[in-house]
């Protein structure tokens, strides 16, 4: 995938790698499902254009070098009237004995002047989406726009599927749109002093704060993560007096925190819920290829367990799932949403997107197909020379990505440690040119004078020298040592240097003691009638080039 930055917009990254703490290991590099990380000069970097905000890197970093850049809780003090818009996932975080209403009240305790029950808006948005599907039976499937990371993924990698997105405002936007005006009317607040804070489970919301999907400018002022408010809420829950009822939703809205909550709500045939980057990509690939079948609704999440499994949550996702299951049972699945009112609002355009979505497709390798194809060929050629150990030491997640980065000028092929060191050995092995002494002898018609026990040794190169001191200093192990020296020390030095075999040139034969030593040590001594130069030529032709 071409990782070159889109010059039109630099996206805001919620996850940043601290270069002081990062030790340049390969954990996040290999874990990133979007292959969006590179390690350069010993420090990991996230490529913004490829990053999908799944936060897996943050979860796996052994050095704790990845920091979250969502707002700190004290930011609420910037506003006289801070308002909380919490994702439904927040309710799953505080165990079996805390109700959503208590969580909402706790938010008020920690400083928010007003709190919105976003899960109620989820129910409404669910109805609106369903109405859209019923009005557009040809849409197969309609894709939920709720997960912002999935929407961005579609604009980048599957722009042809943008028309599948259901153009209904997500709950956070619906909650915050016009909220300042509403509160101004209700309480007499100056809208300029109202700050709307979304409290979310994942890094993706920071990006949409600055680059919204369906509105021109976000109605939110800041994004907090669930981890940030967790501690203060726990404290506030201890002495909470439940004197107000804020929560309005039923189990229908509360179940949106789980994977499949939206799909459950859709009363259409054949709904689907998918989660996790790799699986979502697979589903979208299938859809793009027209192979998803008769699906009417697709709920997709980047986080592998739905929203409650987001990397910026606190509770274990499976425990959170149990909490939601309990909440759904307690609150039942009878929604209070007035479908008639929703229909009316739809007609009034309340749920409409305020701007159309723009594709930002990942670029091809070059602007013209001919050049792009030439680059693809160059990538393929380089990839074939790589050792495919997928070790990550070059700073790329795998060998294929490394080949792409090199051809695109983002890496040097000398970055590949393995390629450099094993240039001789590995390349020869993969090309199938590594041969045994026996094969070489047969191929070149060389007689075997001694050391037949070593004929199955692998020959990896050649070395010509008649000065033993030189051979001792420089001959590589596994080489065929070509020499005209026949005395006994030849065998000893051959053993010392672990050569594959010795070949005597010019028709010479080993001295008896040399042959005896070679037999003892299983170092084959081959005989060639040719001079060293001619023999070298034949060895090169046989594939034993250096």
């Amino acid at each position: 995938m071409n990782p070159e930055n889109n010059p039109e917009k630099t996206r805001v990254m919620a996850l940043k790698i601290d270069p002081e703490l990062c030790n340049g290991c390969v954990v996040c590099l290999k874990a990133c499902p979007a292959k969006a990380i590179r390690v350069r000069r010993g420090v990991a970097q996230i490529l913004p254009e490829l990053c999908v905000d799944c936060g897996i890197c943050y979860q796996v970093c052994p050095q704790g070098a990845i920091e979250v850049c969502t707002a700190k809780l004290e930011e609420i003090n910037r506003f006289r009237y801070p308002v909380a818009v919490p994702a439904s996932a927040l309710f799953s975080q505080f165990g079996f004995n805390t109700s959503p209403n208590q969580v909402l009240l706790a938010l008020k305790q920690i400083g928010f002047k007003e709190v919105v029950d976003t899960s109620w808006l989820c129910e409404m948005v669910g109805v609106a989406m369903e109405e859209y599907l019923l009005a557009h039976p040809e849409l197969k499937p309609g894709i939920s726009p709720i997960c912002p990371a999935v929407v961005k993924l579609i604009t980048k990698r599957f722009p042809s599927l943008m028309t599948n997105l259901i153009p209904v405002l997500p709950p956070r936007t619906l909650a915050s749109k016009g909220l300042k005006q509403l509160l101004a009317k209700r309480y007499g607040w100056d809208p300029a002093e109202v700050g709307i804070f979304f409290i979310g489970p994942c890094p993706a919301y920071l990006d949409v704060l600055h680059d919204p999907i369906c509105v021109a400018t976000s109605y939110l002022d800041e994004v907090l993560c669930i981890g940030e408010v967790y501690g203060p809420i726990l404290k506030a829950l201890r002495n909470l007096k439940e004197e107000e009822k804020i929560q309005k939703s039923s189990g229908v809205g509360l179940s949106w925190a789980s994977l499949g909550g939206q799909a459950e709500q859709m009363k259409v045939e054949n709904t689907m819920a998918a989660a996790g980057f790799k699986d979502v990509v697979t589903i979208l690939e299938m859809l793009e290829a027209g192979r998803l079948g008769d699906m009417r609704f697709l709920e997709a999440h980047i986080c592998s367990g739905g929203c409650l499994s987001g990397p910026l949550t606190v509770e274990n996702p499976f425990r959170a799932e149990s909490v939601v299951r309990k909440l759904v049972r307690e609150h039942g699945l009878k929604s209070e949403v007035d479908r008639g009112k929703v229909r009316q609002s739809i007609a009034e355009g309340v749920f409409d997107w305020e701007k159309s979505l723009e594709p930002h497709p990942v670029r091809p390798w070059a602007s013209q197909p001919a050049k792009a194809i030439a680059k693809m060929k160059a990538i393929q050629d380089l990839a074939e020379r790589l050792p495919r150990s997928e070790c990550g030491l070059c700073g790329c997640p795998d060998c294929q990505t490394f080949a792409e980065d090199v051809i695109m000028g983002l890496a040097k092929d000398s970055d590949c440690v393995a390629l450099d060191r094993q240039r001789h050995l590995k390349t020869k092995q993969r090309e199938g040119k590594e041969m045994t002494v026996k094969e070489l002898a047969e191929k070149l018609g060389l007689a075997v004078a001694a050391g037949t026990g070593g004929l199955d040794r692998r020959v990896t190169g050649g070395y010509i020298s008649d000065l033993l001191s030189d051979v001792m200093a420089h001959a590589p192990a596994g080489a065929l040592w070509v020499t005209l020296q026949v005395h006994q020390n030849v065998a000893a030095v051959a053993v010392l240097k672990e050569v594959a075999a010795v070949c005597l040139v010019g028709g010479r034969k080993p001295l008896p003691e040399t042959a005896a030593k070679a037999d003892e040590e299983n170092i084959p001594i081959l005989l060639s009638p040719d001079d060293a130069y001619t023999l070298a030529g034949k060895l090169y032709a046989a594939g034993l080039g250096g």
């Binding site: 000065l467 033993l468 001191s469 001792m472 200093a473 020296q485 026949v486 005395h487 020390n489 000893a492 053993v495 010392l496």
Partner: protein, 247 residues
């Protein structure tokens, strides 16, 4: 001849044993020339001093391997000069450790046949000194340089270089027991050089299988020099060979 210090030298070729055997055979003048080292010379001389009957005069020396892998016998009288030359050789010897399994233990022994220590240098290896450099340095120290086993195809001037370089200042050549010293002319490259014959013994049985007969006033280096140059009545009289002793 060699002792147990040389790679490929056996354990029984101790300095004392060598000297004792030489005495048995009536050899008057011997040189202990281990490969690239002279560390057994002192023990040999001490052992010789202990002999009651006909102790041979032991010349100090080393068989140096030049950069061209030519063996040169370097002979000295003074042990101090020898050790100075040895230090130079060690400085120029190719780096590396001896592999006892391949080349045997390189034993420095005392006159009582006890192992003092093992020499770990790569004595089988070559120095980076050319034949000319070796000759020059030996002469500076007052020693003699003799091209070893000229007739052998390996490790000899003829074997490695094909000829005796015209400008090479050596004091003589040696032929191995395999060759007839009377036919040495074929290897002399037209030079007029005195010819010696030696056993190049690497074990006790080989000692005395070849020798040179010299006319000397007494057996020492100064006399040998005169004999090789044929001055003042000293000279090379002839050579002798003998079958190797049994066992």
């Amino acid at each position: 001849m060699h002792t147990c210090l040389s790679p490929c030298g056996g354990y029984d070729v101790t300095p004392a044993a060598v000297v004792g055997r030489a005495a048995e055979l009536g050899l008057a003048l011997i040189a202990i020339t281990d490969h690239n080292s002279a560390e057994n010379v002192a023990a040999a001389r001490k052992a010789a001093r202990r002999l009651k009957q006909a102790p041979p005069h032991v010349l100090a020396g080393l068989e140096v391997t030049s950069a061209e892998e030519v063996h040169l016998l370097t002979l000295f009288e003074d042990l101090a000069d020898t050790l100075t030359f040895q230090a130079m050789v060690y400085d120029h010897l190719q780096p590396g450790q001896n592999d006892p399994e391949l080349f045997g233990d390189q034993i420095v022994a005392n006159a009582d046949d006890e192992v003092e220590y093992l020499n770990n240098r790569l004595l089988i290896g070559a120095t980076d000194l050319s034949v000319g450099e070796v000759a020059a340095r030996v002469h500076d120290l007052g020693g003699l340089v003799i091209a070893a086993h000229l007739d052998r195809p390996s490790y000899s001037l003829i074997g490695q270089l094909g000829l005796i370089p015209p400008e090479l200042d050596i004091d003589g050549v040696e032929v191995s027991p395999l060759a007839d010293p009377r036919n040495a002319e074929q290897w002399l490259s037209g030079r007029e050089l005195p010819v010696t014959a030696s056993s190049d013994a690497h074990d006790l049985a080989q000692i005395g299988r070849a020798w040179t007969e010299l006319a000397l006033k007494k057996p020492d280096l100064a006399e040998l020099r005169l004999a090789l140059t044929g001055k003042e009545g000293r000279g090379v009289l002839g050579w002798g060979k003998r079958k190797e002793a049994a066992g």
